[in-house]
């Protein structure tokens, strides 16, 4: 039963990813990306990561994709749909991607790990996932967390500086 759910989510994720890179109209790509993010969130739920599933939907689907849609609507799409959608050297890119895929598929055959950490499923569900993640994030990873907030600040300032029009002096 769990395998059937995994196969459904995996097939949908792969199908939507292929649709994202193959559609001519960027708006269609973004909408396929939205479906793909929801299915990735479903996979996170299967892996007992409820907080990450919620974050995936709120941050990726809710914020990043809306930003993409806004920018697409600011640009001119008519010319894009009429022209060739890939660069001249696309067979090289395809060969590189396929060879990486074959390498990774072979490398992960029979790949297993030992359950060695202290956060077993029972322990996480006793604390609830959000609390468990918060415990690790705010103790062991406090400094990287602060650095992440600085990165977001840089992104805010940088986006404003890059996107605003030059002032006439």
């Amino acid at each position: 039963m769990v395998e059937a759910f995994f196969i459904y989510f995996a097939l949908m994720v792969v199908f939507c990813s292929v649709m994202v890179v193959s559609r001519k109209n960027p708006v269609h790509s973004v909408l396929w990306m939205l479906v793909m993010f929801f299915h990735v969130a479903g996979l996170y739920l299967m892996l007992n990561a409820e907080f990450l599933a919620a974050t995936q939907i709120i941050v990726y689907a809710g914020a990043i994709l809306v930003l993409f849609l806004f920018v697409i609507m600011l640009l001119n799409l008519k010319e894009e749909i009429a022209t060739e959608h890939s660069v001249g050297g696309w067979p090289g890119g395809l060969a590189l991607a396929v060879s990486f895929l074959l390498f990774a598929l072979l490398a992960f055959t029979g790949f297993t790990v030992k359950a060695s950490g202290k956060w077993s499923i029972q322990e996480v569900s006793r604390l609830t996932h959000t609390k468990a993640l918060g415990k690790v994030l705010y103790t062991e990873y406090l400094f990287p967390f602060e650095v992440a907030s600085v990165i977001l600040l840089v992104a805010i300032v940088g986006a404003v500086v890059l996107a605003k029009k030059k002032l006439k002096s």
């Binding site: 990813s17 994202v20 996979l43 202290k118 996107a163």
Partner: protein
């Protein structure tokens, strides 16, 4: 129980599709979407590994990746807007001012 390497395979497939899109599409916005695809492929692997190792560090890393992806999307799309304002195009093969 789904074996761990199914998740790793799925992550690898999503990463490869993103890599293909990044290398072949002309539109900068689709290239950014492909980067998000690659990050998602890595995220799937990280969350699966963290679940199977019973360790939350992979999931913390995934949170950081989501934060950095948001920052990257904001900066990247601002660059796209600036580029479109100056050149009236979002096609990467038409941007070649820095090519000697």
């Amino acid at each position: 129980m789904v074996p761990l390497n199914w998740y790793m395979w799925l992550g690898a497939v999503v990463f490869s599709v993103g890599m293909f899109g990044f290398l072949t599409r002309r539109n900068v916005i689709i290239m950014f979407l492909s980067i998000e695809l690659m990050l998602n492929g890595v995220n799937i692997s990280l969350v699966a590994l963290s679940h199977y190792m019973q360790d939350l560090r992979g999931q913390v890393l995934t949170l950081f990746i989501i934060a950095v992806a948001a920052a990257e999307a904001a900066i990247g799309l601002a660059i796209v807007i600036a580029m479109f304002r100056n050149r009236q195009t979002v096609h990467v093969d038409e941007i070649k001012e820095m090519k000697g």
